[in-house]
Symmetry: C2
Subunit: 480 residues, 2 copies
Amino acid sequence: MTENLENQSQDNLEASLAQVQSLLAKMRLVEELVHKQGGPRQALVENLVHKQNLSELQRKLEELHPADVAYILEALPLDERRLVWGQVKAECDGEILLEVSDSVRESLIQMMDKAELLAAAESLDTDEIADIAADLPHDVIQDLLTSLDAQKRAHLQSALAYPEDTVGALMDFEMVTIRVDVTLEVALRYLRRLGELPDQLDKLFVVGRDDRIIGVLPLKRLLTTDPEVSVAAVMVEDFVKFHPEDEAQEAAQAFERYDLVMAPVVDAQGRLIGRLTVDAVLDYIRESADADMLSMAGLKEEEDLFSSVWRSAKNRWMWLAVNLATAFIASRVIGAFEGSIEKLAALAALMPIIAGIGGNTGNQTIALIVRGLALGQITQANARRLVLKELGVALFNGLLWGSVVGVFAWLLYDNLALGGVMALAMLLNLIVAALAGIFIPMTLERMKRDPAVGSSVLLTFTTDSMGFFIFLGLATVLLL
Amino acid sequence: MTENLENQSQDNLEASLAQVQSLLAKMRLVEELVHKQGGPRQALVENLVHKQNLSELQRKLEELHPADVAYILEALPLDERRLVWGQVKAECDGEILLEVSDSVRESLIQMMDKAELLAAAESLDTDEIADIAADLPHDVIQDLLTSLDAQKRAHLQSALAYPEDTVGALMDFEMVTIRVDVTLEVALRYLRRLGELPDQLDKLFVVGRDDRIIGVLPLKRLLTTDPEVSVAAVMVEDFVKFHPEDEAQEAAQAFERYDLVMAPVVDAQGRLIGRLTVDAVLDYIRESADADMLSMAGLKEEEDLFSSVWRSAKNRWMWLAVNLATAFIASRVIGAFEGSIEKLAALAALMPIIAGIGGNTGNQTIALIVRGLALGQITQANARRLVLKELGVALFNGLLWGSVVGVFAWLLYDNLALGGVMALAMLLNLIVAALAGIFIPMTLERMKRDPAVGSSVLLTFTTDSMGFFIFLGLATVLLL
């Protein structure tokens, strides 16, 4: 696949999208005209023009790589997506389903009947079927399993058996193995007989008896070494391998650290099961970075840009409900000081500053800690140093910016004591923010929760409630 | 490099870090003991033990891959980092400097003198020198340029000439070219004569006269085709290529879409300049995802976990100042309604709910839009549909959650009108949030600014100020 494609730069791609969009707009226009004017003559013209447009659309789609069709489908609202999807050649359906995002895949699968789905799935490799299996109807999977031969069925079942974020879910089965006791000459002849090699193959797996992998033979060694030499003499015995139950996240880090293109996946006995390639790792890294960003912003899962209002709303509720609950509590903290606010309404105007800046600085700390935790760089041994450093930054910023807001409040309300309370509250809330910014993600991590997801809500809740409490409490005690 | 390494899983890596940390703790302990007890005898013992510990540390570090030493250095506070860095073998310095993050690299370079820096840089390839050049002192770069031979100097200068986020800054120069008019047999002999091939090489570049690239020959075709055949007959003429001024971001998307391992980089005339490999792309994707996350949280640049308080504080100021300014303005909006708040202090307790939920829902919209913009999926043609959908979600959520908060306020304060104002304000602020969530990132994008960075501050500013204004304004008009 890598080699047979048009050279699509991003600009070309956006141009293709624009072409498809303008074709669709033309089609809509013709339709509207006929609906307005009616009459059999118009209907006939419309029909002709419509057919012309459709075949132009088909031609355009045929020129494109499946990944590019996927890109265009992602950018279309549901009705237009349905129209375009209907014009895609059936033999490309599988590839395209593989390339689109989960949420868009769901929408496409809903537009297909069982026979189409079966045909699409059958055009894919077993590891690829496994990637989209979660979105396929149960009976399609059943039919697929019966239609596959024994080896492929076993592959599919094993790929389906591993949970999402593991190496097992990312691996494929397209590998080339050779025996350790042959010469390079024999290996070269074997490859020529195979006729075609899988993509992203940069090494052969060298196996002994029992399918146990005992080394790897990089293609570049095969190409640069005298063919008379034996595989055993040039193979590399110290190589990176993974187990199917390894975390995908850690495998991705190994690919980055050691600049891998592919690596074998083996079972506990060292027997070869499959391989992990850098393109699967790249897709995984991109998808999990996207998912992190979306979940940090409070979306339950990846959301189709053009999903229905109802689906979108559901995707955002959980987070909204949590935020509402924490906002209620913070509101009750303020409620406890309503007496003070009645006497000095300036407190109401100033309190959001204290709470807001606390939230902002705390989130800065969280971003650093979450990243350090993801890279495994925060340990018992250095946590104390981190706390001291963040407290130092909080003290420093608290004194500096606390003075700024203090002077602001003093000048604005001509009330020196109010300015003092403001400055002190700012300092204290920044210290709360620093501590919360470290301990919340570290506690989530220790509870085996994803620190990237919940940290920010919990922190904002803490800095809001504590900010209001500290400021209004100090004001009540010192000013009133 | 890929092949000669220990099989370091994440667990092993964390174990190595723990070993180094416990060694360092032991060394600190011995030092403290001697300082307390004094005396020449103790000093002698200390000296011996210290030397033993140091050599154990050296042994441990020698076992590790440079990428793993880099990982350990990142996780150490400055004083310990200095100690460990001093024990690393000089010939690994360059590789390690390449692997650490920008901020940690700065700290390491500050610990080295000019001669060490020169030696470290000279151990690297020219494209690698270019990667760390931004952190090297100016005179070291000058000395390097004079010490390199003409071709390498030209490479370094051209790599230095391209701005950070372009293909030119990521490319390297390790490629293998063959002439179009030879047979595969000749190509195979040529490779054998070369003796060694660069990492991540999955194809040869086929050039005609003038160094113009006219095709690529995938190694897998070279391996599976009859050697008598000519290069011209099996080369692929339709291949992905890049220009050095292309955006790195777009090249990364092409690598993902087309599952590339490497691709040629050519000038405007189609002459070969260098190549882009998937490991450079992988590092780029990870770094830019990290940078996005940190800058969304308001850190100016990547921050060393253990940088000094002063440097950290500076890194966080700009954002803090911006937030403070917007918080002041929001505070003045409340200030304008102090009269209303004096009469009904409940308003002060309830207003943060309206502002906060507006900010949360707006940030959900922003996350989707920023992602869509990054993928180039939001266009003039579909923007209107997006606005309608987001307004639909806002209306839906506004009616639902507006009713919830309305009932809450009504029951809490036994004031039906207050509940009504609360519900209406919530609905209106969610509509404001949806519109701001779309238009702020789209406007930043049109102004050629990064929509990921500033959007969230501007949005929170909008939803806070408008939230306070809508709620307090409605309350003043309808309740008082």
